[in-house]
Symmetry: C2
Amino acid sequence: MSKRLTLSDIARRAEVSPRTVSNVVNGYVPVSDKLRERVEKAVNDLGYSPNFMARSLRSGRTGLIALVVPEIDVPYFAELARMVTELAEPLGYRIMIDQTSGVDASERSHIARATQSTLFDGIIFSPLQLSPTELAEVAGTTPFVLLGEHSQEQSFDHVGLDNVAAAGDVVAHLYATGRRRIAAIGQNVNRPASTEVQRFDGYLRGLERHGLAFDPTLVAPSTSRHRQLGYDATLEILDKGRPDAIFCFSDLVAIGALRALASRGVRVPEEVAVVGWDDIQEASFSNPTLSTIAPDKNLLAATALSFLVDRIADPAIPPREFVVPHRLEIRQSS
Amino acid sequence: MSKRLTLSDIARRAEVSPRTVSNVVNGYVPVSDKLRERVEKAVNDLGYSPNFMARSLRSGRTGLIALVVPEIDVPYFAELARMVTELAEPLGYRIMIDQTSGVDASERSHIARATQSTLFDGIIFSPLQLSPTELAEVAGTTPFVLLGEHSQEQSFDHVGLDNVAAAGDVVAHLYATGRRRIAAIGQNVNRPASTEVQRFDGYLRGLERHGLAFDPTLVAPSTSRHRQLGYDATLEILDKGRPDAIFCFSDLVAIGALRALASRGVRVPEEVAVVGWDDIQEASFSNPTLSTIAPDKNLLAATALSFLVDRIADPAIPPREFVVPHRLEIRQSS
DNA sequence: CTGAAAGCGCTAACAA
DNA sequence: TTGTTAGCGCTTTCAG
């Protein structure tokens, strides 16, 4: 390959100034048709494309938004990524997905790097471990919005669900369909402000509202959001409690639960009902199909993006909070 | 936030030249301990982080590798992305995931942009529509490797499977377990060099090898790799053929097939066996669990990355080809 | 081992 | 409407 072409190569070829080439390429200022044509011809003839770095260094913007998620092979994040990417395109932004692997230190360093580097115009961050307070400590100057995690202190833009209410909806549904021993998988005692704690809170309040006693043998904590956790936890609960329903705080965990129940020959929903959370695509195709809390993921993505775009335009606006509606999608498993 | 700090701010503060700060930050040249300390102190005190654009513009490298995939919410790609990301970190590269949405025009423009922009040091590209020939037409100068797709002409680095052999393995397995009416879902007649066509070829050869007649009522084409396709195609085949096995060219399609069979009350594997392809995590947790062709995805990712790193170092080396081993993972569905 | 100075390719004041 | 020119912040010859 020969040397990279520059703006001035084009300018020379088209016999205009670099300024004019820049204007044509960016479509900024009205350029006379004659010159525009000459420039466009030169660009095509020579096969010129602008240098991203130089342009960004000079203009101070990149057109890039980072989506920082724990694990892209968790379908919930993958689906979100898909939506955000598609919504960003018409806004003139490209989405780059950045995986933290959900480990505390790694999440911290990823967000630090992303907010300090000048690579991104903005960031959409879905934290797993980091609390808003910890986040504030490491964050640089790049604007970002928080996804999912409930920010106690309203210091950042934030889009999430009403986790407590949604969990209550699940309990109400299970109660209404005759379930009295409702297990819950996914509590996370280590992170006070986490969505998991909120969901567990909603579960407890739901039990109370329906006069059901809390039974610790029906509860398993969350060490991950993966299928295997649901599988293991379900076997455990099956042995020590005697659930007639299992409420999982994520669909992936619920899928693991379905597998565990099948392996034990327990019929779903006849003997045990299962409800998940997230409404990932997989939930519509499992056997049996999975009842789940379905957040409006598209609205989630769109709102996060719109908050971010606004903040990029004016970093000084006060932080906003938006609670995305959800519905309980009832399928075969309950 | 105040103005961004620059190298020379640090230099002034530490009372050294910009050159020395650069050396310290990059750890290039041996710097005296005394100066290093002064510089590091200044960096920490002021909270300096280098400007990515300026650095990349000057040095000509970014440390960024793009992973260009059709749809990140297809688990196969998500799992691959996870692996590539983790393998790249120790090599000093960050992976940015770029989704094309698998549409022809979009795939073309994404790869054109990615290879022409100076943003990435290299690209790993998993094409869905683009043939190597078409690819050659739009590609810029950024080095890239191809994933999955079989490149007819050996003009690019390429890592893939032996699709024909693997498909043959599936047919052999089904035949050995007594299946005689083996359906296949996922053929793609529109793209001669696609993996789908290779798999179908392997299927045909497998039938022949075992003396089974080809029956067009047992075949459904691939318009996508999604679950819904598997669902629809299975119902269709169930109606017109009378399969005792369904071979799906992707796990996602197989998951859809399982759902369709369950909805019709067809028992798997007693009445109909199902085999998929990819060994995504979901395949270990479906009901029943799914038999599948399991490529060594980690080796796939590692080889692609290593090919790419070599090519970045020396763009002139001849293109290489690597065929990743696979195994047939037999689970409950067959 | 460190300093001075040039320049990566582009955009945007400022002029004309 | 177009040309001239000065940097964006960094790395890197070239001297010292």
